[in-house]
């Protein structure tokens, strides 16, 4: 576990999968807490639940900047540091957060979006009328590392997920230089049905088997 995250340097950009308590790579997060890398720039739908999920990294003051859609009322450490001006936040609509990651993985540098037109989200962004409708320009969003959670991997790195724990994980796998996945179990290559693989092995760099941790 600690080996898998041992090369994450200070200042790294790291994405974390998970939504609504499901699909968080909690063992990898705790490994990163032990590793102690600082000044991290993180990308995640939310900012932790107490000490759980990303909470421990905020508690340890390892995070300097966060891109999130919904930091969450339970993100105690983040909220304290945000109110104190100790952590920077870029607040992004959830679908656009996903879409910007997908664009990065797909080699698309920027795209026009209808979301946020006329709102605070549009501030500082180019606006353009296309076929009579207003849009804003959104930029691709990539990372140095993606920490994701899957259900099962084969030895080659093909992944399947479990129920709504899929959420951000497959898209983050495509948007980072190094994707590290935490899984419940590893199976022999060739035993996952090629029709049902959600994340092909090409997107996975490291696999760690660990018992899932659920933060209610």
């Amino acid at each position: 576990m600690d080996l898998a995250v041992a090369d994450v340097p200070d200042g790294a950009i790291v994405m974390f999968g998970g939504f609504g308590g499901a699909g968080f790579p909690n063992n990898l997060i705790q490994g990163l807490a032990r590793r102690g890398a600082r000044n991290l720039r993180v990308i995640s739908n939310n900012c932790g639940t107490g000490d759980g999920e990303l909470g421990i990294l905020f508690k340890n003051r390892q995070i300097r900047h966060v891109v999130a859609a919904f930091p969450g009322p339970g993100a105690t450490y983040f909220q304290q540091q945000f109110d104190a001006g100790e952590v920077e936040l870029e607040l992004v609509p959830q679908g656009i957060l996903c879409e910007r990651m997908r664009a990065f993985g797909a080699g698309i540098p920027a795209f026009y979006s209808p979301v946020g037109v006329g709102t605070d989200v549009a501030k500082g962004k180019e606006e353009r009328v296309i076929r009579g409708k207003r849009y804003i320009l959104e930029q691709a969003l990539g990372a140095d590392y993606a920490f994701i959670k899957a259900y099962r991997a084969d030895r080659m790195g093909n992944l399947v997920y479990r129920k709504a724990a899929r959420n951000f994980n497959p898209i983050m796998a495509t948007a980072a230089k190094i994707t590290i996945v935490e899984v419940d179990e590893v199976v022999e290559t060739g035993t996952l049905d090629p029709e049902t693989i959600v994340t092909p092995s090409i997107y996975v760099d490291r696999i760690v088997v660990a018992k899932g941790i659920h933060n209610a």
Binding site: N45, D83, G95, V117, T119, D120, R166, P170
Partner: protein
């Protein structure tokens, strides 16, 4: 006896009548989250959750929760036959791409032209959070906002122009409150129904922009009065 505004449950009950059979539907936080319980027995609708579920069923029974199967409010849910899982990015292809038939969100303010503010009270502490509301508002084929007609301190929430941070502009089709059902049209706000016992004049009083209406505005149909 003073006239009673609708309860939150009654707003939800009325909103449920807006769901046609076979519709694909997303329900937001707050009152919308109460609506599923009021869908008429002869109507089948498919609930979408932006974390990657189409075909959510009721909340999981105590002891049967699976914390990998939760809705966008972290509540353990169930599936109906024909449900599917997908990623969050594909969930938002559905919202933003206009594939859902009806979305129902809570609201802090709605303007005359259908602008919605629902994610942040100005001056509130903390960072706030947008979540999926902006994607849903922009993409919804039909967007219904359910909310109390007035804020807790009596302010009007249906306004000429929103003073709260916006979620999306010109996105709301219908507003369902504890006093009325109001449609947002290109000719302005149209009062479609009033809460039982209330008059159009009383609704207008609590509404900043001018409401248009026919001579006889019917009362909302509710089983529970």
């Amino acid at each position: 006896m003073p006239k009673a505004r609708l309860t939150r449950e009654q707003i939800a009950e009325r909103a449920a009548l807006e769901l046609p059979d076979g519709a694909y539907v997303n329900l937001g936080w707050g009152i919308p989250n109460l609506i599923a319980a009021y869908v008429p027995k002869d109507v089948v609708v498919y609930f979408h959750s932006e974390n990657g579920i189409l075909g959510m069923g009721p909340r999981a029974k105590a002891g049967e929760e699976d914390y990998d199967l939760v809705d966008a409010m972290k509540v353990p849910v169930t599936l109906v036959p024909g449900a599917a899982y997908f990623s969050q990015v594909d969930a938002h292809v559905m919202t933003r791409g206009g594939h859902l038939d009806i979305c129902i969100l809570g609201g802090l303010q709605v303007s005359e032209r259908g602008d919605l503010a629902n994610w942040r009270v100005p001056g509130a502490k903390g960072a706030g959070g947008i979540g999926g509301a902006m994607d849903i508002s922009v993409g919804a084929e039909k967007l219904i906002v359910t909310m109390e007609h007035n804020s807790k301190d009596g302010q009007r929430k249906i306004v000429t122009a929103c003073s709260y941070p916006l979620t999306a502009i010109e996105c709301v089709n219908t507003i369902i409150t504890d006093l009325a059902v109001i449609d947002v049209t290109t000719d302005g706000l149209v009062l479609r129904e009033v809460a039982p016992g209330f008059t159009p004049e009383e609704v207008q009083e609590q509404t900043e922009p001018k409401l248009r209406c026919s001579e006889n505005v019917p009362e909302m149909a509710l089983r529970t009065k």
